[in-house]
């Protein structure tokens, strides 16, 4: 998926996974020079959408910071890999939706932040509309 000049993709085909399954993929951004990148954060997270205030929790988080000696080469794709948890499962409800995604946040030396997301489904919960009798 391409969003905000960050390209993300899974190694496996499809965007639906089961709890306990390992997901892996890569991200790429080549519009910044090597010395312009301050840090990159890669998160696998869920967040809520709908009527209520947004809740969010990170399942897996990795930060690579140039200041802390991390090596970030925008010419080469970065990788992410994690084993998905048992819950919460993706959900498409009436006033609540639970969405999972891989989010990459790039911080540049000029103080700019760029975010890219790759959504996916965890589990196979039916949507409220589909489950309605």
């Amino acid at each position: 998926m391409t969003d905000s000049n960050i390209t993300l993709r899974f190694h496996a085909n499809g965007r639906a996974f089961h709890p306990g399954e390992e997901i892996s993929g890569e991200y790429r951004f080549d519009w910044l020079a090597l010395d312009e990148i301050q840090a990159v954060e890669v998160s696998v997270l869920w967040y809520t959408d709908g009527k209520g205030d947004t809740d969010m929790a990170v399942h897996d988080f990795r930060r690579i910071s140039a200041e802390e000696g991390g090596w970030i080469d925008p010419r080469r794709p970065g990788e992410f890999r994690t084993v998905l948890p048992n819950s919460p499962l993706s959900y498409d409800g009436a006033i609540l939706k639970i969405k999972w995604c891989v989010r990459v946040r790039v911080f540049s030396e000029r103080g700019k932040e760029v975010v890219g997301e790759l959504p996916f489904r965890l589990g196979a919960v039916l949507s409220v509309k589909a489950a309605a009798p």
């Binding site: 954060e41 930060r63 499962l89 589990g123 196979a124 039916l126």
Partner: protein, 435 residues
């Protein structure tokens, strides 16, 4: 797309969300003001009360003095009188005689006033003119002497205000500074790491099933027919007590004003504005009494409802048994058991916090009409049910929930209808798959 500080970021659905950075800066300023107010207040209290009293206790020299005269001193502040005890004493130090008006170190510093005149008079009654008493004088200013030392209890209570401000402001400020410049994901990861280090069991389904509510309260009571007896969402007795408290509180206050209004009418000087103003409040009070009586009838007249379940936690696609026992002496028009799932969303609307609930699943498990329940012979029913395949599991996060409940609904002749709710926890199906 680059992101800069903006007062408003974007519109999310029907809401407009503010800039996160502007919000963080606003919160930091807010907590800084709290913190500074607390520090200022604490410094003021220490300077006004603690340091002078510490000097009187540790540096003043013990001596003897004779009481010459007494009076209640008073001043006007913002049009209100304030009082303090003033005692004229005479003491000699190294051949030199000093005559001063004093009581405690605050008098010496020109303060010590309070609006309570009786308190000042009570203090003066402890002394008698012409008698000798122990006193303490300031070695650096021998004209300053006190008859009592030590802070009164209320001084320490006043410290609660600035200390609270410092704790709230300081805590908020530290949190803001620690999280400043950090992304939402990084903050969330820090919170998760801190929670994993906590010595207590995390709330919810623990590490195995994050954000699935804890089921301990549900499985800690064994059933008589099936494995677990389900607790009720809200005990009817607590609900009754809360209704009674609200009823007494509201009608107590309204009743006072009603008495004033009636007295006015009886004495021939009716206050028609008060009378008309009280009508809607009195109607609410009557409504509360009606609601309380109705609750009382349901609680006392309709006996306890017990629901037991064959296993727990429940999983989508699995079949279970449920047992209902209804005691009392009732002529039942209809009684049914429902399996329901509700979404609950909490959101801020201006300065209010609101909660909206939406029922997304309702399935009748059992229904029977036209029967009687006799005292000592509870109505009992055992039935099978299934959590629908592909159903959402129970879920709980700070502002959003998915709750499953077994609902018992009764229509009883000559009694108000009633509904009792019993929470159950649904876990994700094996492997998160639909069956």
């Amino acid at each position: 797309m680059a992101r800069r500080i903006r007062i408003y970021d974007k519109k999310r659905g029907h809401r407009r969300s503010g800039s996160a950075k502007a919000g963080s800066a606003g919160e930091a300023i807010f907590f800084t003001v709290f913190f500074l107010l607390g520090c200022g207040g604490l410094a003021g209290l220490i300077g006004t009360f603690v340091i002078p009293e510490w000097r009187a206790t540790h540096e003043f020299v013990p001596h003897r003095c004779a009481v010459l005269d007494m009076r209640v001193g008073h001043i006007q502040r913002e049009g209100r009188p304030f009082y303090r005890p003033e005692i004229q004493v005479k003491y000699d130090i190294e051949g030199e005689t000093y005559v001063v008006w004093t009581y405690d170190v605050h008098n010496v510093r020109g303060n010590g006033y309070s609006p309570d005149k009786l308190d000042a008079q009570r203090v003066l009654r402890q002394f008698q003119a012409g008698h000798e008493y122990r006193c303490w004088y300031d070695p650096s200013d021998r004209t300053a002497a006190v008859l009592v030392r030590g802070l009164e209890w209320w001084v320490w209570v006043t410290f609660a205000v600035p200390v609270s401000l410092i704790l709230i402001g300081g805590g908020g400020l530290i949190y803001r500074l620690v999280s400043w410049g950090k992304s939402d994901e990084r903050r969330s990861a820090l919170v998760r790491k801190a929670a994993s280090l906590a010595p207590f069991e995390p709330a919810g389904g623990g590490l195995d099933f994050p954000n699935v509510p804890n089921m301990y309260d549900i499985i800690n009571s064994p059933g008589t027919t099936l494995r677990y007896r389900l607790p009720m969402t809200a005990s009817p007795f607590w609900a009754l007590a809360a209704t009674l408290a609200a009823c007494l509180f509201w009608n107590g206050i309204v009743g006072l004003f009603v008495v004033f209004a009636i007295n006015g009418h009886v004495s021939g000087a009716p206050d028609w504005f008060l009378t008309v103003f009280l009508v809607p409040f009195a109607l609410v009070g009557v409504g509360l009494i009606y609601y309380f009586v109705r609750q009382l009838l349901v609680t006392t007249g309709i006996g306890p409802t017990m629901v037991e379940v064959s296993d727990h936690p429940l999983r989508p696609g699995e079949r279970y048994q449920i047992f209902l026992s209804q005691t009392g002496r009732l002529r039942v028009n209809s009684m049914e058991i429902l399996l329901v799932c509700e979404e609950e969303a909490t959101f801020r609307h201006g300065t209010d916090t609101r909660t909206e609930t939406r029922r997304v699943f309702e399935q009748p498990l059992f229904r029977r009409e036209g029967f009687e329940v006799h005292r000592g012979m509870p109505f009992e029913n055992l039935c099978d049910f299934e959590i629908p395949p592909g159903a959402m599991h129970s879920f709980k996060s700070p502002h959003n929930e998915v709750n499953w409940n077994v609902l018992v609904r009764g229509d009883v002749a000559n009694w108000p209808n009633y509904e009792r709710s019993f929470p159950i926890i649904v876990y994700p199906g094996e492997g998160g798959k639909s069956r």
